[in-house]
């Protein structure tokens, strides 16, 4: 059934009238214009037991050269008790390869994301946006054809050993290998008339991780591994061709390792600033 849903979603997106690559849960290989800024405010929520857990993200993006984009971000959440500052991160993306055509392109970018902060964790699933310290690096491949925008991110995350929020349990030598496939579709308008037209886009994203780790519980260390695969779907509204509002709901398809609970809801506002 799950496979059928995914097949239907991606077939639907493949038959779209126009492609969109402003993905919600992943970054495209494309960058912003040189000397432009972007500001993002986002929030992700899920329920854990009877508690509503939520996280707030603040990101400031700057495009240096047209090929190099850097982002500084801070995160706060109540994931680990009271609502508090979690960590901050630096993200850099460099466009390595560009092949442009009329309403199409293929691009490859390399990225690195370092997160520093409270060094807490609950799961072997590392979340650099949510309290973990670590380093994530990899490549992004984005294909934009007239009818299809597909993007894949391949990365490896290594995780800085932490103070744990579950007493007696520690995760060591954690390695996450992440792989995603995102597709985007312009729903409205069928044809653009002006920048002031509201745009409605729809995205479907498969977000997967393979995780290896040593779990130490009451002094016993076990080498373990497992996979997590989530499906995130949601709409996006573009206002005045300069602001965007993203909404995404994330469901777990494969749960082979302890991870942050789903379903989760993510909402984000982004504003571009041109100098």
């Amino acid at each position: 059934m799950k496979i059928n849903i995914i097949f239907f979603l991606f077939s639907f997106l493949a038959s779209a009238s126009s492609a969109q690559e402003l993905f919600i849960n992943t970054e495209p290989a494309s960058n912003m214009p040189r000397n432009s800024f972007g500001l993002r405010i986002g929030s992700e929520s899920f329920s854990q037991g009877n508690a509503l857990k939520s996280r707030t993200d603040l990101e400031l993006m700057y495009e240096e050269t047209g090929n190099l984009m850097t982002t500084a971000m801070i995160h706060a959440s109540n994931y680990y008790g009271q609502y508090a500052f979690d960590n901050f991160g630096l993200y850099a993306k460099y466009r390595l390869y560009t092949d442009d055509g009329f309403k199409e392109h293929f691009r490859i970018a390399a990225f690195a994301h370092a997160a520093f902060g409270a060094q807490r964790n609950t799961f072997a699933d590392v979340m650099l946006d949510g309290g973990n310290s670590g380093l994530n690096a990899g490549f992004i491949f984005t294909l934009l054809e007239n009818h299809l925008a597909l993007s894949s991110t391949l990365g490896a995350i290594t995780f800085v050993p932490t103070v744990n929020s579950t007493p007696g349990v520690t995760f060591q030598q954690v390695e996450n290998y992440d792989c995603s496939l995102s597709a985007g579709y312009l729903i409205y308008p069928a044809q653009y008339a002006s920048y002031t037209d509201l745009n409605f886009n729809f995205y479907a994203e498969l977000l997967g991780k393979y995780i290896t780790y040593n779990k130490s519980e009451s002094g016993i260390i076990n080498a373990e591994h497992g996979s997590v695969l989530d499906l995130a779907i949601g709409p996006q509204v573009i206002i005045n061709s300069i602001s965007r509002v993203d909404l995404s709901v994330r469901y777990r398809l494969i749960s082979g390792v302890e991870s942050f609970p789903t379903p989760s809801i993510f909402i984000r506002f982004e504003q571009m600033f041109y100098r």
């Binding site: 047209g66 442009d100 309403k103 044809q191 653009y192 008339a193 920048y195 300069i242």
Partner: protein, 183 residues
């Protein structure tokens, strides 16, 4: 001495204006589909002080640019601005106002920092508004590039870079473009 140089620069400026003035250009942009990307490209182009107005057709993805009068408007800067926005130029046609400008086969004329190399044209004098089509390798199809290559013996066109064939006015600092008269 300083006065002499100022006078020389002014004279060069007057010569430039007297020979040709870029009036408008249609610049096709490759690599984008979304209105947010198109707006980013427009905002990047707007930073150029010689642009008077710009209007991007969001369906054909062609930027129609009107230039300020009496200002040097290098096509090189426009190509760079589109690249700075994260995209690339698909094609360019530009309207210049010429005043008694003699051209001919493989004539290279200066326009500010641009040098325009005329390909596939007969000897003639340009007067008034004339539309030029840019036919550099990256601005035309592979087939067109082959066809234009047959119309010039200059290797700079085929090799898509400045070459030994280029006349003295194609200095290292200049940007060479290959153009023809638009039909």
């Amino acid at each position: 001495m300083k006065t002499f140089f100022i006078a020389l620069l002014l004279l060069l400026g007057i010569t430039l204006q007297a020979n040709a003035q870029l009036i408008s250009a249609d610049v096709g942009v490759n690599g984008l589909t979304c209105s947010m990307c198109a707006r980013g490209t427009e905002e990047t182009l707007k930073r150029l002080d010689f642009i008077d107005s710009i209007d991007v057709d969001l369906n054909t993805l062609v930027a129609h640019i009107i230039f300020k009068k009496n200002m040097n408007a290098p096509i090189e800067d426009i190509v760079k601005a589109v690249e700075d926005a994260g995209f690339s130029v698909r094609n360019i046609t530009a309207v210049y106002d010429f005043k008694n400008k003699k051209i001919g086969k493989d004539e290279h004329i200066d326009y500010g920092n641009d040098v325009l190399h005329f390909v596939g044209v007969d000897d003639q004098t340009l007067n008034g508004q004339v539309t030029l089509r840019f036919i550099d390798k990256q601005f035309v199809s592979k087939k067109e590039f082959k066809d234009w290559s047959k119309k010039t013996s200059m290797t700079c066109y085929k090799n898509n870079k400045k070459d030994a064939c280029c006349p003295a006015n194609v200095t290292q600092a200049k940007r060479l473009f290959h153009v023809t008269l638009a039909s």
